[in-house]
Amino acid sequence: QQQVKQSPQSLIVQKGGISIINCAYENTAFDYFPWYQQFPGKGPALLIAIRPDVSEKKEGRFTISFNKSAKQFSLHIMDSQPGDSATYFCAARSGLTGGGNKLTFGTGTQLKVEL
């Protein structure tokens, strides 16, 4: 079963616009929520991450908003640029898994930023 649900599957945004990708989870044992960015032909790379004891984290143009009661979190990309065109994955880590830092990934969002 899909433990982390991600939407939309694809997204087209105009240059300078705001891109928003949403994720929802059910497992209350999740205690760490990273976002990964993947360019064509490359492996995913960590973009930004948040713990559930904060409601928002911002790094440059990228912001994670976290709603613990709703079990939802989202990635906002401000002033979106063509270079942001990539596939984005949300993920979650369960604090119960012990060693290994095992992550559960969402299904991915393909973002295209048009000029």
């Binding site: 492996g43 995913p44 960590l46 290994g100 095992k102 990934f105 991915g108």
Partner: protein, 113 residues
């Protein structure tokens, strides 16, 4: 910079063959992972290892096995390849400790004919 190297970018094999995918990391990481990536399904964990000779099943281990004889190398084995194992395979590594990022290789696109 952490480097995770997967031995092949593209691989074509036949049904029933035994297939080995190799992954090497250069940062002395304790944890290593194998995922497969399929459109619309995201990244799904096949197996992971948190120490040499240690392995744990992920979410979709059926039809796969792994080997970790040395800390830097983690191999994924398809015992008898089938067409439904055609996919992109990604290897990753991470340090032990809370919230350590996973570092990914660039993937092996495997086609089973």
């Amino acid at each position: 910079d952490v480097k995770v190297t997967q031995s092949s970018r593209y691989l074509v094999k036949r049904t029933g063959e035994k297939v080995f995918l190799e992954c090497v990391q250069d940062m002395d990481h304790e944890n290593m992972f194998w995922y497969r990536q399929d459109p619309g399904l995201g990244l799904r964990l096949i197996y992971f290892s948190y120490d040499v000779k240690m392995k744990e099943k992920g979410d979709i281990p059926e039809g796969y096995s792994v080997s970790r004889e040395k800390k830097e190398r983690f191999s994924l084995i398809l015992e008898s390849a089938s067409t439904n194992q055609t996919s992109m395979y990604l290897c990753a590594s991470s340090e032990t400790g809370p919230n350590q990022p996973q570092h990914f290789g660039d993937g092996t696109r495997l086609s089973i004919l």
